[in-house]
């Protein structure tokens, strides 16, 4: 009986590990997408022109709006969605004692 209980716990642990790994990959892709957006857009448009006055949108330089503020707002929305709907709850186990005893 104890053995099967232990086996179940190991299965649960493996499942939660796989879920954490999936979330880990999602987060890395998120970083790549937003890094690419800000670096590409700002690399192309943030430099501006010496002759022309700055283009202003919502009180800010246009490149700040499209290269920082809008991706920031989308990243915020994505973070909320990720944390509330995509990320799964996991039983983390009991806080272990200080001598190393603990179970997942």
């Amino acid at each position: 009986m104890e053995e099967s209980q232990d086996g179940e716990e190991r299965e649960d642990l493996a499942a939660s590990f796989r879920q954490s790994r999936k979330e880990f990959r999602f987060m890395l892709v998120t970083w790549v997408v937003f890094a690419a957006w800000t670096l590409t857009y700002n690399g192309l448009f943030a430099k501006g022109s010496d002759e022309q006055p700055v283009e202003i949108v919502l009180g800010m330089p246009k490149w700040v709006v499209f290269g920082v503020a809008i991706p920031w707002a989308i990243a915020l929305a994505l973070t909320v969605w990720f944390a509330l709907f995509y990320m799964k709850d996991t039983d983390l186990g009991e806080p272990a004692d200080e001598n190393g005893g603990g179970e997942a």
């Binding site: 190991r10 987060m27 937003f34 670096l39 430099k47 006055p53 202003i56 509330l84 272990a96």
Partner: protein, 622 residues
């Protein structure tokens, strides 16, 4: 008024420490003192994380950068848009779970138990203590400087400064230190050491919550006031577009006929330039002898933008009978000199670099740095080991995301506008935050509010120092003493040793900055880059790759740290100052992560696998 605000603030901090001490009394000392019994809830977890992340740099160095380089700093900080999801989400769930299975209280302990390797644990402890001490030094200095700015001009404080000066002059070790700085350093350090020692992790977390709230309110209030006073953001950006960087000059001051024999001007005083409508701001205090002899030349800042000049002219004291004569050629910025539009476009003006402040490769470095260096900090990892359950984590990510958006983007708006309201801050741009607080509240007719606004950066520094203090003391007590010297130590012995170590580490930190280090922000970036470079990849592999071995992790820690140190050493030999060498224009942190990754992967591959039972314990039946 500022003194009263500060007094109330400190009283609250101590009250929270006393409450935390009472709550923790019934629980196991070590787990409670260093990790709050792993029971930190939503608000506490989110705000302690955010407040620790927003250190003194966020309210001193960051505003200074925005003021100096303009809107391009929005790009520099853009990585923060995904910091909550990366720095908090990437490792937290697994870290907490593995920490519980291992029964670990600290990061080195987690590594030691995960691999059953004392070597890895000791190595990690040494690295944490080494880099954390640099961090602690920088934060102690920042705390003392903010406090000195906050209390400047308060009569009671001035009396104390004079008293301290009379006592310390001629004493060994502290005799040459500046009295005002020394007084603030001691008061600041004693406050933090006392409440950290007394209340432990729970007190640190509770005070972080309060400090996080103070920071949030401070930023929102400043944003509203600044937008009112510059006539809206559009107007401010238009004015910035017309601005050109100032020039650095040497001036000789002379008194008008009929003035008193000796005139003293403080650092930052404004003076007209003779024979024109120019004004300069003095970079150091000056004593002008009206004896007919030529005074010594001193450094000053020459304002070049007409609108800023107009504002600066109003600041020249009417009763200051002094004019300045410019000596030699004014020195302009290496990038942006005489060029309009540099404050609203990339790469932003730069005094030293002819390619400007921020290029694409450096922007990429910082986009990586903010996220992955954050994820790799042991001080954040410890917090991620302390939350109660995964719903707490998920909601905290949302809270931190809103909180960082509320802090960082508004700070960019506030301090780009600061250039319009406060010309000439380049002479001591680190003080732009408290100066802005004073100017904004004075203009709005609510000077009492300045105390609250200035409490924000102070809170930021305090909330970082307490965490670092705890981390270093946990390294010594838990990872060295309890693990290697006396595994059977009683709770009473541990408790006594913990108090002694926390106080000793704090005192050593103070002694190290009695004569303040010069490169505050560089020191912070060095320490956080070092910790991130040493721990990020080893921890990712530890949590997510079952094939990782103890030797692989050790190789990752060593190679990450050595790569960073070597690139800093090359930078030091090249420039003669504490500056990093940027290979391919990438920050050393990026290289240390790359080298660390390669080292862990290959060393783990060529060393024997960990026992199957150990693997199953942490990964289950895969």
């Amino acid at each position: 008024m500022a003194l009263v605000s500060f007094g109330i603030y400190l009283a609250f901090v101590f009250l929270l420490a006393i409450l935390a001490n009472r709550v923790g009394k019934s629980k196991s000392f070590v787990s409670e003192y260093f990790l709050g019994s792993k029971s930190i809830g939503l608000w506490a977890f989110a705000l302690t994380y955010a407040a620790t992340a927003a250190s003194g740099g966020s309210f001193m160095g960051f505003p200074s950068l925005i003021y100096t380089h303009g809107w391009v700093v929005a790009w520099w900080i853009a990585g923060y848009m995904v910091v909550p999801i990366i720095a908090l989400g990437l490792l937290a769930k697994r870290l907490n779970q593995v920490g519980r299975i291992a029964g670990a209280i600290t990061v080195p302990e987690l590594l030691r138990r995960r691999f059953e390797s004392r070597m890895v644990g000791n190595l990690a402890t040494a690295v944490v203590i080494f880099f954390m001490f640099f961090y602690l030094m920088a934060q102690f200095k920042a705390g003392a400087e903010i406090m000195a700015t906050l209390l400047d001009g308060v009569p009671v404080y001035q009396e104390f400064v004079i008293a301290v000066e009379s006592v310390t002059t001629g004493l060994p070790l502290i005799g040459e230190a500046k009295a005002d700085y020394l007084l603030c350093l001691i008061v600041f350090a004693v406050s933090v050491i006392v409440y950290t020692t007394f209340g432990g992790f729970r007190a640190v977390v509770w005070t972080d919550v309060m400090q996080g709230i103070v920071m949030g309110i401070g930023v929102v209030v400043m944003l509203v006031l600044v937008l009112q006073q510059v006539g809206g953001l559009r107007n401010a950006t238009k004015q910035l577009d017309e601005m050109t960087p100032p020039k650095f000059v040497k001036v000789v001051l002379s008194a008008s006929p009929g003035a008193s024999e000796e005139i003293r001007l403080p650092r930052g005083a404004w003076v007209f330039v003779e024979g024109g409508d120019d004004v300069v701001r003095l970079d150091s205090a000056a004593v002008i002898q009206n004896s007919g002899e030529k005074n010594e030349a001193i450094e000053a800042l020459l304002i070049t933008t007409p609108s800023a000049k107009e504002r600066a002219r109003k600041k020249v004291g009417e009763d200051v009978p002094v004019v300045a004569a410019i000596q030699g050629e004014p020195e302009g910025y290496a990038y942006g000199d005489g060029k309009k539009g540099v404050y609203v476009h990339a790469p932003g003006p730069d005094r030293k670099s002819s390619s400007g402040f921020l290029g694409v490769m450096l922007a990429l470095s910082f986009f990586a740095f903010w996220n992955f260096s954050g994820a790799g900090q042991p001080s954040y990892m410890v917090r991620q080991m302390a939350f109660r359950d995964t719903p707490t984590l998920r909601r905290s990510i949302v809270m931190v995301a809103f909180y960082f958006s509320l802090i960082y983007f508004p700070l960019v708006i506030i301090f780009t506008c600061a250039r319009i309201l406060l010309p000439g801050m380049e002479i001591h741009s680190d003080r732009v935050m408290p100066e802005m607080a004073a100017v904004l509240t004075e203009n709005a007719g609510v000077p009492w509010l300045a105390g609250l606004l200035v409490a924000a950066p102070f809170a930021a520094v305090m909330s970082s120092v307490d965490s670092f203090l705890l981390l270093v003391s946990s390294g010594v007590v838990r990872d060295i003493y309890q693990e290697s010297i006396n595994p059977n130590a009683s709770e009473k012995q541990i408790k006594r040793l913990t108090y002694i170590v926390t106080v000793t580490v704090g005192v050593l930190g103070v002694i190290a900055v009695i004569y303040p280090v010069k490169f505050l922000q560089d020191l912070i970036v060095f320490a956080s880059g070092g910790l991130g470079g040493c721990f990020l990849m080893p921890m990712i592999f530890t949590l997510f790759w079952p094939r990782t071995t103890a030797k692989g992790v050790a190789a990752g820690i060593v190679s990450g740290g050595v790569t960073l140190l070597v690139l800093y050493l090359i930078g030091f030999f090249q420039t003669g100052s504490f500056k990093e060498y940027r290979l391919l224009n990438l920050h050393p942190f990026v290289w240390s992560v790359v080298v660390s990754t390669i080292a862990i992967f290959f060393v783990s591959r060529i060393t024997p696998r960990i026992p199957e039972a150990l693997k199953e314990r942490y990964f289950g039946k895969l």
